[in-house]
Amino acid sequence: MLSLVIPIAFTLVGGAVALSLWRLLAGPGAPDRILALDTLYVNTIALLVLLGIHLGSALYFEAALLIAMMGFVGTVALCKYLLRGDIIE
């Protein structure tokens, strides 16, 4: 059962990554691209978690946690840049 479900899930999340990537390239505005990047990192967490289940290894958890933190900080920094035209005041 699991061996059947995991490839399906990989396909779906892979599709999600492709769609976000399309939005990242198509834009049209800066907020759209930032939103796409934000979605992309959350999708990456999903991929890493799936890989962890697939390989039966808990090693990927740290990577997922780091991506979650760095992604959030990145999104906030980019939004601040849009709001003020400057990151560090």
């Binding site: 479900v5 899930a9 907020p31 979605t39 808990a58 709001l83």
Partner: protein, 118 residues
């Protein structure tokens, strides 16, 4: 039984993650696009993380709960980044399907509008 539960969680998670990105690609203005990733994707990844916690807890290596940390982190940060993105878009007067609310440009820069939602 456990395998069915796991499969259900993984499939739900993957489907919601996909729908979130589909919304991002499909909807027609920035403000509606914001809804897909903030809700669907967050729940999707949350569901996958719960599946991972259940999976590693039942493999004999003791209870594994650290996935909960990532889930919590995502559920706390997703609305914050959505709020900031919406504010940035309003500040830039991003195109919208409906009429934009009046611009109190000072609001976006005033420290009061900023420090409260974090």
């Amino acid at each position: 039984m456990l395998e069915y539960l796991l499969s259900f969680l993984i499939l739900t998670g993957a489907v919601f993650t996909f729908i979130g990105s589909l919304g991002l690609a499909r909807l027609r203005d920035f403000y509606t696009r914001l809804h897909g990733p903030t809700k669907a994707t967050t729940l999707g990844v949350g569901s996958l993380l719960v599946a991972s916690a259940v999976y590693f807890s039942t493999r004999g290596g003791g209870i594994s709960l650290h996935e909960v940390l990532v889930t919590l982190f995502l559920f706390i940060t997703a609305p914050v980044s959505a709020h900031l993105l919406a504010k940035a878009a309003l500040h830039l007067r991003e195109r919208s399907l409906v009429e934009l609310p009046p611009d109190d440009a000072a609001a976006a820069d005033a420290p009061a509008g900023d420090g409260a939602v974090r």
